[in-house]
């Protein structure tokens, strides 16, 4: 059966419909060669239709070990070829069983070029092709497009919970879950005494009640400008204890410090983005997944830019000694992607112990 991805700008990309339910999302592409399962379960991809530029997906099967959360968050999976043989069609089954629509045999290069040139747009994956599909899709987009919502609340845990850390002498961390990846939790657990995970709408009082040594702001989906509550909470916590964050956490921190964010034309999504790390004085490869970035011009003067994306010089990390906080835009926890930046967790951990 035919299926199509229709962009709100009117382009249609047809392919083979492999199951799932019709849906709407922001259409984004990722250039990683591997890691489809990690990406699909990363809450940061919530409300997004994921286009993978690597030709075949599902080729090495699936494993629950690869899950970065308890859900498949993406609104659709688009690729050129899908592993679908008698021996192994496990990834396809896993996606469609969860209702995620899968579209294969799509000219993903043309699609990626379109997204690159037009910028990120919304789209819908629908059964069928041609004008009818376009019409149906456009109605769906009109109805479901959501650009104003605070998505972090959707994907965050609903009640707090505590995790034991591996370092008996380590810090006690309060983590605000804006859509946290499991591997961030694992990296933090390995370096702390205890982590208490709070939902995205936690108040600063609740955090203070826990009396942590440091506060970690997780990754998460959507436009940081819409995360009003989360930003306010963080604003109230600045100066209280060491605050550090990743991705959405980095953007929220920047906002809380008085800066603002902007929408990148088509985002950074892949496992090959070069980062200049001014703290370690190194250049390394990083995993990235973000559609928005911190606007350097809007940042207060006392904020130090610690990391840059060398492809386009976008702010990729910041630090403030005065406010006792730091964050990075990219993903040192990888999963998927290179492990080059994992030592940032060590750096962070050291800072949590200083206070």
């Amino acid at each position: 059966m035919m299926g199509s991805l229709v962009l709100e700008s009117g382009e249609i990309f047809s392919g083979v419909w492999l199951g799932g339910e019709e849906s709407v999302g922001e259409v984004v592409f990722n250039t990683s060669h591997s890691g489809y399962e990690e990406m699909a379960t990363d809450p940061s991809y919530y409300n997004q239709i994921l286009v993978l530029t690597a030709p075949m997906q599902g080729n090495y099967g699936e494993s629950n070990d690869f899950w970065e959360s308890e859900n498949i968050w993406i609104k659709g999976f688009v690729c050129l070829e899908m592993q679908n043989s008698k021996r192994d069609n496990s990834w396809l089954k896993k996606l469609t069983n969860k209702g995620c629509p899968v579209l294969s045999e799509v000219d993903t290069r043309k699609l990626a070029i379109t997204l690159r040139e037009k910028g990120t747009v919304w789209g819908a994956i629908v059964e069928g092709s041609g004008d009818e599909a376009i019409k149906k899709a456009q109605q769906m987009i009109d109805k479901n497009k959501d650009e104003k919502g605070d998505w972090t609340k959707v994907v965050s845990c609903k009640t707090p919970y505590t995790l034991e850390g591996a370092d008996k002498l380590g810090s006690k961390i309060a983590l605000i879950d804006f859509g946290c990846k499991k591997n961030i939790l694992r990296e933090l657990q390995a370096r702390s005494r205890e982590i208490k995970v709070f939902p995205a709408n936690v108040s600063s009082e609740e955090i203070k009640k826990y009396n942590p040594d440091a506060i970690f702001l997780s990754n998460g989906p959507g436009d940081p400008a819409n995360v009003i509550e989360g930003t306010q909470t963080v604003r109230e916590l600045i100066g209280y204890k060491y605050i550090y964050g990743i991705c959405m956490g980095h953007q929220i921190l920047a906002q809380a410090l008085g800066g603002s964010t902007f929408k990148l034309k088509f985002g950074h999504r892949g496992a090959n983005h070069p980062i200049k790390d001014y703290i370690a004085d190194k250049v390394y490869m990083s995993t990235q997944n973000h559609g928005y970035a911190v606007d350097e011009k809007t940042m207060p003067k006392d904020i130090e830019i610690t990391h840059l994306n060398l492809n386009d010089n976008v702010v990729s990390g910041l630090k403030s000694s005065e406010h006792n906080c730091a964050s990075v835009q990219f993903h040192p926890e990888s999963h998927p992607g290179p492990h080059d930046a994992v030592t940032i967790f060590d750096y962070f951990t050291e800072q949590t112990k200083r206070c």
Partner: protein, 1060 residues
């Protein structure tokens, strides 16, 4: 910028003649590096003994030395040039070993020269197995259990602890030379002895086998700040047990999870850091147990390699260029990404396509050699295919291979050919799938990962669907996306390929040309490096009247190699100089021609009618050029012309006149060339009748052969009968046997010339050192001629030019002539650039390729000034040396004959013949023993001729030994000679004597099937033990000349003069 200011002059080491395991990929890396360093304003001194390379064009570097890559010669160059540094990481294992030798001899220290890219300690840590294992232990990486054996006894003891099968890896050898796998003690003993001998340090790593594990390779780069990037991951389809050069490989890797891949990446990074590779490219090979994911490290190379050339072509990342720039101090974040021009070089290429590499083999050239693949590399070339999916790219490779076999042809399945790795495996595997073998069963038989087998299955299964269905747009598109060629479709649908093409074009099923952009479309890229795919809609057809399409020469093979890539690339430069744009088509990833910045646009596609027509149709160029890529484009030309495209240069009529034997003979006779008497015969009866007129000896060959396949010299009736019975499969009514008079003891010459509309230039006359009977590609040659009489030389040039006029050549013409009793015989004519063109250009300084381009573009005499190009102009004497791969095919005879077997050539330049000879032989990796025993076994007709040679050996202090007849002859002539037994006379015999190390030099001339077979053991043992073995009397005399020069040790080194 962090470029070092203390380095102003560097020496770049090349890799020498092409042989198996070290081919033109190092011309690619060297050329790239050279261009990059020159652009940085450095003085670049290039040393390489291989004249067929672009890198040795005098224009490319500050100064080029075509000199042997051996310490005494390089030492002289270094003393003369006094460079600041030597870069040893771009010339393969040869350059790396040379660097170690220079260092060990204290030369680098004495002259205060730095090694850039890899220091001695680093090279040793990576290459010395024991040291490397220490590195792995330190970082906690696993490797196969192994023992270093330095003696036979140690080796045997090791085998007891490891169990079979066992892998043998001699230290410091090329392409796994001398290594292998043994399944039993008996087999092991034989291989151990060879391996110990092969290793220059007599060290062999005896290793536990990881047969059947998945094999991977990471191509990585590092800069001085420690920034580390993986350029490309490569997965071998053939599991461990087959040398990676002989494996079909895929990039990027397809069957590892992100987790597994990233762990492998981490380990590679740790290894590079721990080995201490400060800057540059390197590769690390891994094996992964398919059962449990266990990973071990196989090896690493601290230099660019064959696979880094592949990785560069596969990703668009110019590894060698960047490695060169890193070595002079730059860092990755200071260098631009050459392809996108907007981003930096510190990134890991993202691919939105799949690349497959398939090796090309030449077992059929080596009679007796078994077609079996192991840890020792045997392939002579490779093709690469880029497709949007694995299937598309894989099938493209098989379209590019230029072999008679097709994956889609039904054949009798031989299960053994599926189970055991061999060059025919894929054909049998596809047949097994057609026969209904399941993926599961095939996985058990081959240990090839099921994922790959499924891809093959999908391709095969669609044949049935196609047969049942209609030839409509949807099905054609599906087939094309699975990689079906028109030929394949034609076979399944029972039509002709051109009918399929017409059908496709009518239905608008045409390929899209997508860009290789290093970033999977994330950034826009201006670099026109294309591959075709059916996974998108075709582009609108454009008109490019200023573009010339250059057809490359495809995969390297014996008879068509780097020489043709040289011609292609050099002509691209000249066409560009004349204001044209050039689109290059080639499928060989090792070459300079497939570097994205060689031509104005690059199409990485098969040199196949279908692929080329699609490109021509898309581009609508001014025309195409087929004179430069060897025989491949010549064979393609008629079809392309038939489809309405214009060929530059000589017309089809001219080519036909030169290649149609009957018409050609007529023309030759008209012009006063003698033609060897010849005839055709379909049967032995006919042959016997014809020979009565021709007279023995004769040369026999089946019609339609390339590179002298099955060509033999036949001396009498008995042999003729034997010839017909052995080759009966290839001789028939349609394909008769060609019989030519054999001009015994004739002097052969190659003439290369260029003819324009009203002008012509003789590039040179190369005199072959061996007498007629040895294929021109296998014979050594010298320019200017040493034995050819000047008046005969004049005469043959006049005749050649007249013939070119008559053939109406526009561009290149190569003639092979034989001179006997001052008469000039025409052997054959090639209306194209030839193998000898680069050699001639470098020997004479005449820019022959440039002139050929001018000829094709219709330049007039007044614009060219042909009279200034005089080849015999008192330049140095240049000798062409030859390199053979017999070590890899020990069961095959190394005797030279009319069938070409060499893989590469060297060039020796000297103020006289002997100096040039010495250098050519040294560069061809000949040992030149200064003392010891000379063993002679001569056929009767050579005895008188070689007696003086034997006498000379004796007077120089060598001792002599010989078998029966030869010994008696030498003794009768007053020489001291030890008589040894022939092989059939019992033991110890002459072969035992050679094997025991008593013999330093062997001179063994023989002819006739029986004698050749009887003396095979002599030559085989020489090959095994690297003892010089001369099988032809003129070659033996030349060897003596070189030996004498070697004894005097008073050679000089000379930079190449710039072109005239």
């Amino acid at each position: 910028m962090a470029k070092r200011t203390d380095i102003k002059k560097v020496v770049l080491l090349g890799s020498g003649p092409i042989n198996i395991g070290q081919a033109c990929e190092f011309d690619y890396s060297g050329t790239q590096a050279c261009k990059a360093l020159m652009a940085e304003g450095l003085e670049v001194i290039l040393i390489n003994s291989n004249p067929a390379t672009i890198m040795t064009d005098a224009e490319l570097a500050t100064r080029v030395y075509v000199e042997p890559l051996k310490v005494p010669f390089v030492e002289k160059i270094l003393e003369k040039e006094m460079p600041d540094a030597v870069i040893p990481t771009l010339g393969g294992q040869t350059a790396l070993n040379l660097a170690l030798d220079l260092d060990a001899a204290g030369i680098l220290k004495r002259l205060n020269i730095e090694l850039l890219g890899a220091k001695t300690e680093v090279i040793e840590k990576a290459e010395d197995r024991a040291k490397f294992c220490k590195v792995l232990d330190k970082i906690g990486a696993k490797y196969p259990k192994s023992v270093m054996a330095t003696t036979f006894k140690e080796g045997i003891e090791a085998s007891e602890s490891l169990g079979f099968p066992i892998i043998l890896r001699p230290n410091y050898t090329l392409g796994g030379g001398g290594g292998g796998m043994a399944f039993s003690l008996e087999e092991y003993k034989v291989k151990l002895a060879t391996a110990l001998h092969e290793s220059p340090t007599s060290e062999v790593l005896v290793e536990e086998s990881i047969l059947g594990w998945k094999e991977y390779e990471l191509e990585v780069m590092r800069d001085k700040n420690g920034t580390f990037v993986v350029i490309c991951s490569i997965e071998n389809i053939d599991p461990c047990g087959v040398h990676t050069g002989d494996s079909i490989t895929v990039a990027p890797q397809q069957t590892l999870s992100d987790r597994e891949y990233q762990d492998m990446r981490d380990e590679a990074q740790k290894i590079i850091n721990e080995v201490g590779v400060e800057t540059g490219g390197a590769n690390v090979q891994f094996a992964v147990n398919p059962e449990n994911g266990d990973r071990i490290v196989i090896e690493m190379n601290p230099r660019v390699s064959r696979s880094s050339a592949l990785a560069s072509k596969a990703t668009g990342f110019p590894i060698a260029k960047i490695a060169a720039l890193l070595s002079i101090g730059y860092t990755l974040d200071e260098l631009k990404n050459d392809i996108t021009k907007t981003t930096l070089s510190c990134y890991e290429p993202a691919l939105d396509y799949v690349v497959t590499k398939v090796p090309k083999f030449a077992f059929e050239k080596f009679q007796g050699a078994t077609d079996q693949l192991s840890t020792q590399m045997k392939s002579v070339g490779e093709v690469m295919g880029i497709g949007r999916t694995f299937k598309e790219s894989f099938m493209k490779c098989f379209l590019s291979l230029e072999v008679k076999e097709n994956l889609f042809d039904k054949m009798a399945l031989d299960e053994k050919k599926v189970s055991y790795p061999n060059s025919q495996r894929m054909y049998h595997l596809f047949q097994a799938l057609r026969d209904g073998y399941s993926v599961e069963k095939l996985n058990q038989m081959t240990t090839i990962n099921s994922w790959f087998l499924e891809q093959f299955e999908q391709i095969v299964k669609f044949e049935d669907e196609l047969k049942m269905g209609e030839a409509n747009k949807s099905n054609l598109l599906k087939a094309k996306r699975l990689g079906y060629s028109d030929k394949h479709l034609a076979k399944v649908l029972n039509k002709t390929p051109s009918e399929i093409r017409k059908l496709r074009w009518d239905l608008d099923v045409r390929p899209k040309f997508y860009q290789v952009d290093t970033c999977a479309a994330e950034f826009s890229s201006e670099t026109p490096y294309f591959y075709s795919t059916y996974w998108s809609e075709p582009d609108p057809i454009t008109k490019n009247p200023d573009t010339i399409v250059m057809l490359g020469s495809g995969p390297n093979r014996i008879g068509q190699g780097i020489e043709f890539d040289y011609s292609c690339v050099r002509s691209v430069y000249e066409f560009q100089k004349q204001g044209y744009k050039v689109a290059m088509i080639n499928s060989n990833p090792e070459t300079v021609s497939t570097d994205y910045d060689t031509s104005d646009s690059l199409f990485f596609e098969a040199l196949h009618e279908e692929s080329i027509l699609e490109i021509l149709n898309q581009l609508q160029p001014m025309g195409f050029v087929s004179q430069l890529g060897g025989q491949t484009p010549i064979n393609l030309a008629p079809k392309l012309i038939e489809n309405g495209f214009k060929m530059l240069g000589s017309s089809l009529e001219s080519m036909d006149l030169a290649e149609d034997r009957g018409r050609f003979i007529k023309v030759c006779k008209e012009f006063g060339f003698k033609i060897p008497r010849s005839a055709m015969a379909h049967s032995i009866g006919g042959a016997l009748a014809e020979v009565a007129d021709i007279g023995y000896p004769i040369i026999c060959r089946p019609s339609y052969v390339l590179g002298g396949r099955r060509m033999e010299i036949v001396e009498d009736e008995k042999e003729l009968k034997s010839y017909f019975s052995r080759h009966s499969l290839f001789i028939s009514e349609e394909s008769p046997c060609l019989i030519d008079q054999f001009l015994e003891r004739a002097l052969e010459v190659d003439v290369d010339l260029v003819r324009g509309l009203d002008w012509s230039v003789v590039g040179g006359v190369i005199e072959h050192i061996e007498a007629a009977g040895v294929h021109s590609g296998d014979s050594m040659g010298v320019i200017p001629p040493q034995r050819l009489k000047p008046d005969v030389c004049e005469k043959l040039q006049t005749l050649s030019l007249k013939l070119a006029d008559k053939l109406n050549i526009l561009g290149f013409l190569n003639l092979q002539l034989a001179i006997k009793d001052d008469e000039v015989f025409m052997i054959e004519a090639n209306p194209r650039s030839s193998r000898s063109v680069p050699f001639i250009a470098k020997a004479t300084g005449i820019p022959l390729v440039d002139l050929g381009v001018k000829a094709m573009l219709g330049f007039k005499k007044s614009e060219v000034n042909p009279e200034k190009y005089v080849w015999n102009n008192g330049q140095k004497t240049a000798v062409k040396g030859v390199v053979f791969p017999f070590k890899k095919f020990l069961e095959s005879d190394s005797i030279l004959g009319p069938e070409m077997k060499s893989t590469g050539e060297s060039m020796g330049r000297g103020k006289d013949y002997s100096e040039a000879l010495l250098k050519a032989l040294v560069s061809s990796r000949f040992e030149l023993p200064l003392k010891g025993e000379v063993f002679l076994s001569l056929r009767d007709k050579d005895k008188a001729e070689l007696i003086d040679l034997a006498r000379e050996f004796e007077s120089m202090g060598y001792t002599l030994s010989a078998t029966g007849g030869t010994a008696k002859y030498l003794q009768d002539n007053g020489l001291n000679c030890l008589k040894t037994k022939k092989v059939h006379e019992g033991r110890p015999n002459c072969v035992d004597r050679i094997r025991s190390g008593d013999v330093a030099i062997v001179i063994n001339t023989t002819s006739g099937k029986t004698s050749v077979e009887a003396s095979f053991g002599i030559r085989k043992s020489c090959t095994e033990y690297s003892i010089p073995c001369l099988t032809e009397s003129d070659a033996a005399n030349a060897f003596m000349l070189a030996l004498k020069k070697h004894k005097q040790a008073n050679f000089e080194v000379y930079p190449l003069e710039k072109s005239l």
